[in-house]
Structure formats: C-alpha cells, structure tokens
C-alpha cells in the first residue's frame, strides 16, 4: 500500500509546481480535500496524496490551465455531472483520440447505447479495455469478457473507489472488480497481469475529454 501514496515534497519535485500553486489549487477546490492525507513520520506530520490520482489531476490542471480560468477549471474538474451528460458518437471518439480505432471496432458495437452514442460510463469501460490492450496485457477476446464484467458490475460500485484486477491462471483470464483498498490473495498458479484503479481512469478520461 505504501507506494500508492506520494509525499508532498516528492510530488512538488516531480511535477515542478510550487507550494503556493498547490495551496491555491486546494483553495480553488481543484484538488479535493480528501486527497490530503496526513500521516505522522519521523520528521513530524507530513501530507501525502494518492499517487496516481494526484499526478493525473495535476497533469490535467497544467494542460488545461492556459485555456481556462481556475474557477472554470474547478467546476470542470469537480463535477462528474457535467460529464454524465456527455453523449459522443463513434466518429467523435476516434477523431478526438479518446479510444483507439482498434478497441472501437472490436467492442464499440457491443457497448454503445441504442442511438449509437456513448455515455461517460460506457466510454470509461471502453477506455479501460483500450488501456489494457495498449499495454499488451490482454488479447482482443479477453477484452470482451472485461467489458461484460464492467457493464454488469461497475454500476454497483459507482462513486466508490474501486480497482480492476486482471489475473490469469494457466492461460485462463479472470477479471475482478473490488472496492479499494482491498487486499486479495491468490494461489500460486495465479499471475496478476494488471491492476488498474478506476478512479485513475476516470481522471485520465476527463483529461482527454476536455
């Protein structure tokens, strides 16, 4: 669990932002209060952040901040409401490079809603499959299984932090969705191929959409 957190100092070093910027963004609610995790260390109390989430969020802020004011950014980033309204056509998705052509042609038809449009949730599922495909961990057929899993169970976990596990045993692929933090223990023959936090995907997807 330890490496899932990043200290404030390390974060500033990695991203090149300053204390002032970090605090300003907090004030403007660009970074949620819950992400500031206080922990005692040997030098006293230190602040930590969820590593993946904060890095993705800071990248998003830095990318968008030239075009938008901080207040506009705050509303853009904080509300998923704005995104839940989103309906995109297949062409728009490919054109804006949100999901690759390959993933789209393989899974698109199965995921899309009746009118041929994609909501944020559906887009997220496609994006998840696309990410795993791009890493080369998953075959195209296994992706179908993944999408079925997500479609069936992701609804039950909306709003909660959850993680997607992709494991393989003797060539058989399995997908697990578990609320995080959860620790899973497998028997010896199982290989954990990928572990993805859905929150990170949401964050990355938001970055691509805006």
């Amino acid at each position: 669990m330890k490496d899932d957190l990043i200290s404030k100092k390390e974060l500033l070093d990695l991203t090149g932002i300053s204390y002032g910027q970090l605090y300003r963004w907090k004030r403007k609610q660009l970074i949620p209060e819950e992400w500031f995790i206080r922990k005692s260390t040997f030098t006293g109390q230190e602040t930590f952040f969820p590593r993946m989430l904060i890095q993705a969020r800071i990248r998003n802020i830095l990318n968008m901040k030239d075009d938008l004011s901080l207040d506009e950014l705050a509303s853009r980033l904080s509300d998923t409401e704005g995104y839940s309204e989103i309906r995109l056509s297949k062409e728009a998705i490919i054109e804006r490079n949100i999901v690759t052509d390959i993933a789209m042609s393989a899974y698109g038809a199965a995921v899309q809603s009746k009118e041929g449009l994609y909501s944020f949730g559906q887009l997220l599922h496609l994006y998840a499959a696309d990410t795993l495909l791009a890493k080369g961990d998953m075959s195209l057929d296994e992706g179908k299984l993944l999408l079925r899993t997500l479609e069936k169970h992701a609804g039950a976990l909306t709003g909660k932090p959850c993680e997607l596990y992709f494991v393989r045993k003797m060539g058989v692929a399995l997908f697990l969705l578990a609320p995080s933090p959860a620790e899973l223990f497998f028997d010896e023959g199982v290989r954990l191929v990928a572990k993805v936090a859905l929150g990170d995907l949401v964050e990355q997807l938001k970055g691509r959409l805006s």
Partner: protein, 233 residues
Amino acid sequence: MTEEDKGIGQRPDLILNGVGSAAGGAYDKVLIDGVGKVMDSLSARLFKANGQIRVKGELETIEIEVNGIMNLEGPLRMNTMKLDGILHVDGGIAGESCVLNGLMTAKGDCELEEFRGVGGFTIEGLLNAGRMDVRLAGAGQAHEIGVETLKVRQGDQSLWNRLLGGIIPKLKPVLSAKVIEGDNLDLEYTNADVIRGNHVIIGEGCSAGLVEYRTGLTVHPGAHVGKEVKTGD
C-alpha cells in the same frame, strides 16, 4: 425587532436593535446593533453587526462586517470580511478576503485569498491563504500554514504592549505553527518546526527547527535555525 418583507421573490431584511433574538434563515441584509442572538443558520447578502452577537449555526454571506464580539457556532463562508473586535468560529472559514483588526479564532481550516490586518488569530486547522500580510498584536497560531506570499511583522511594540505580552502569553505577538509552507515567506518573530519555501527570509526573533528553501534564504543573525536545507536543483 422588525422584519419587513419587500415583495415576493426578494429576501427580507433582519434588523435587530437593543437586546433581542431572531430565527435564522435567508435574508438580504442582516443588521444587528446591541446584543443579538440568532437561533439558527443564516444566509445573507450583507451581514453587519455591532455589539455582542451569537449565531447558533452557520453563516453564509457576501459581505460581513463585525464590530464587537461575535460567536459563530458553525462554519463561516463569505466573500469579504471586515473584523474589528473578536470573532470566534466553531468551524472553518472560507472566503475571498479578510481585513483583521482584533482577534479571530477558528476551530477548523481557514481558506482566504487575501488575509491582512493587525491583531492575533488562532486557527486550529490549516491556514491557507494567497496573500497574507499581518502585523501581530497578539499571538498568531495555526496548526499549519500554506500560502503563496506571507509577511509577518510585529505590531506596535510600545512599552505597555511589551509589558502586557510578558504577563499574558496570549498577547505575546509571536506567530507559531507546526509547518509553514509557501512561495515567498518573509517572517519575523515566528516559531515553527518546519519552514519550507521558495524564497525565505527568516527575520528577527524567529526560531525554526528546519528550513527548506529552493531559490533563496536570508537569516537574521539573531534568529535561530536548527537546520538549513536547499531543495531542488
């Protein structure tokens, strides 16, 4: 006490004179003179109070002006605040700007774009400000301070003030915090465990366990610094 409705769609005003109490609610203007008590949460466009005021709930307003003593049993959200006297908040403070002349205490965090004035404060959580410029005339305390620019000076240091400060610790004009982090820190009479910043000036009367700086550090010969570390490249 009078409450007059100004037609439908517009919020009424709340005016309290003398000793009285009122219910909470949504108002356009809230004007309290004397000893006033509001029994529930308030939201108003303008909140102006003279005397002794107690609000048993939270307060949300665009403009707030307090002369006297005010107790707020909940968080305060405002745009601009002008405070002459004592304000006690049982919660956090969030707003754009605050001009302080007196004492302010908050149980939670305090988030302000601009914080300036003369006096003292106690923030039990994080004091997060864009620009902070205070002249201390009493103790300044915060658990943690995170700012863009911070300037701390001692207020009027006359004989009487020094004498009183020696007798009553609360009146000793010193800023103390566990951690102070910011871009530009210009400090005097400050005690902190850790001070981290981009450009740091440690002035007279400071004492810090650890100072981390990125571009520049100036330390007054009289100041006490445990360890200096240059971070970054």
